[in-house]
Amino acid sequence: MELQSFLSHEGILSVIDGMAQKTRALAEQRNLENFAIIGIRTGGVLVAEALHEKLGITEPLGTLDIAFYRDDFSQIGLNPEVKPSQISFDIDGRHILLVDDVIHTGRTIRAALNEIFDYGRPASVTLAALVDRDGRELPVQADIIGLEVTLTSNEQIKLTGEDDMELVIGSRQ
């Protein structure tokens, strides 16, 4: 796969700044008092960490690894890189801000919602994505979007790095 840089660390942080503003506005409008943040591993956790800091939330971030909830588990098996999901707060009755790096087919979000509901019954779930790209296969839409990108079906966009984030576009020949 050929990788091409799309957006660098600084650019990503300013996009997340915009997302933080939208989150504040939406939280006020929808009355999402005391909401908790959950990031989806691995890229979503990076975006969630940045949002968590910018919003000044003190409660620890939740992280979700959806490996055991993927709808293609019976076709491709287990991702051996799986890490524990960590949610230290009680989900029951909480407003949740669910964060991912890229929303594409919507299948990851379906799996994440199922996993969240195995922890409890949240009051609401609001979805934030750094990148919204075309190609939805399920009726799932983000409430807070950093960037909208249109790509061909053999192109992929993903968030890499940790301290030095980068959005890259790869294309399959």
Partner: protein
């Protein structure tokens, strides 16, 4: 028994889990890491994940076992699989059905995974050799040969309590000669690179070439062997060994090899005490030690569920079918 090849697919991923023998350090670490991510499933309001939804797991127990069977059953259920428990010692074989016939019949019921415990060494390998492609086999103990999930839950517990394996001195006390648990533990500990594996046993309960064949330090004196140990593992003394010429009596065994609080003072001050169960209190272990602050015996049981979930999730590996259509 060429089990190394039998339990791995062409990509080196697990398709059966039969023995520690032939697995590399990376395999073992990857099982431990996956188990780690299953640990907190029991703290959630829904104590299961959907990974094996729609799959059928058959527990074939030709030998009695409460703990191993129930933790395998719970592990399969936490992965959302459907579970059949077959206590075969009292059913088919009593009517003369062969192991292969039993296998074929269950395959005809579309079972996806067999968990097998059998008194004959090699039984799980035999099933794995004859199972249809795509059917996975997990060894839950075969004869004197191997009990790999027990060994993995033991090293998982050690990692949880101690972190790094490399500086550790691990002492295993008891009937090494007849123990599948000990064989698997020693292989796992050596593969993970502990500093020293010691075995402590009377001469009658040790293979004569233990040092070379198992790669261990041999002690016949408990107090000598336990000195400075970081991990002290007792094995269950099988009552039937008492009938033969191998041991004089339970009392004498306890006097020479029973782990007591006084003897534990010789081990490292933060040493942990482990036992695969069921305990023979007053034979291989004193109650004060079994129930004391250094004991992690009940942690072993909880960890057994996470380890069994990990090997089942990893072995139910569709790539082993050659079905890379996704």
């Amino acid at each position: 028994m060429n089990s190394a090849n039998l339990q791995l697919d062409d990509n080196g991923s697990l398709k059966h889990f039969l023995t520690i023998d032939g697995l590399k350090r990376e395999h073992l670490v990857s099982i431990l890491d996956v188990a780690e991510s299953f640990l907190n499933v029991s703290d959630r309001s829904v104590k299961k994940v959907p990974a094996l939804r729609g799959k059928v797991v058959a527990n074939l127990f030709f030998e009695n076992s409460t703990r191993t069977r129930t933790t395998f059953e719970l592990a399969a259920k936490r992965l959302s699989a459907d579970v059949l428990n077959l206590n075969i010692s009292v059913s088919a074989t009593a009517k003369g059905e062969t192991l292969l016939d039993t296998l074929r019949n269950l395959e005809a019921m579309h079972v996806d995974m067999f968990v097998i415990r059998h008194a004959d060494s090699g039984a799980a390998h035999f099933i794995a050799q004859h199972a249809r492609p795509g059917v996975s086999v997990i060894n839950a103990g075969d004869g004197r040969h191997a009990h790999p999930t027990q060994a993995m839950l033991d090293v998982f517990t050690i990692r949880q309590m101690k972190g790094d394996f490399t500086p550790l001195k691990v002492a295993i006390i008891g009937d090494i000669l007849h123990s599948r648990v000990a064989r698997s533990q020693i292989l796992a500990l050596n593969t993970l690179g502990v500093s020293e594996v010691r075995v402590i046993a009377p001469k009658t309960l040790l293979p004569h070439d233990a040092r070379e064949s198992l790669g261990v330090h041999v002690f016949h004196d408990l107090e000598e062997g336990i000195t400075d140990a970081d991990v002290v593992i007792m094995l269950r003394l099988q009552k039937e060994r008492m009938d033969g010429a191998l041991l004089a009596s339970e009392q004498e065994y306890f006097q020479r090899f029973g782990v007591t609080q006084a003897r534990m003072k010789l081990a490292s001050p933060d040493a942990i005490v482990m036992h695969p169960g069921p305990l023979n209190r007053g034979v291989e272990i004193e109650s004060e030690v079994a129930d004391g602050p250094q004991s992690v015996i009940l942690e072993q049981v909880s960890n057994g569920i996470a380890i069994r979930m990990a090997v089942m999730a990893m072995a139910m590996n569709p790539r082993a079918l050659g079905g890379e259509s996704a």
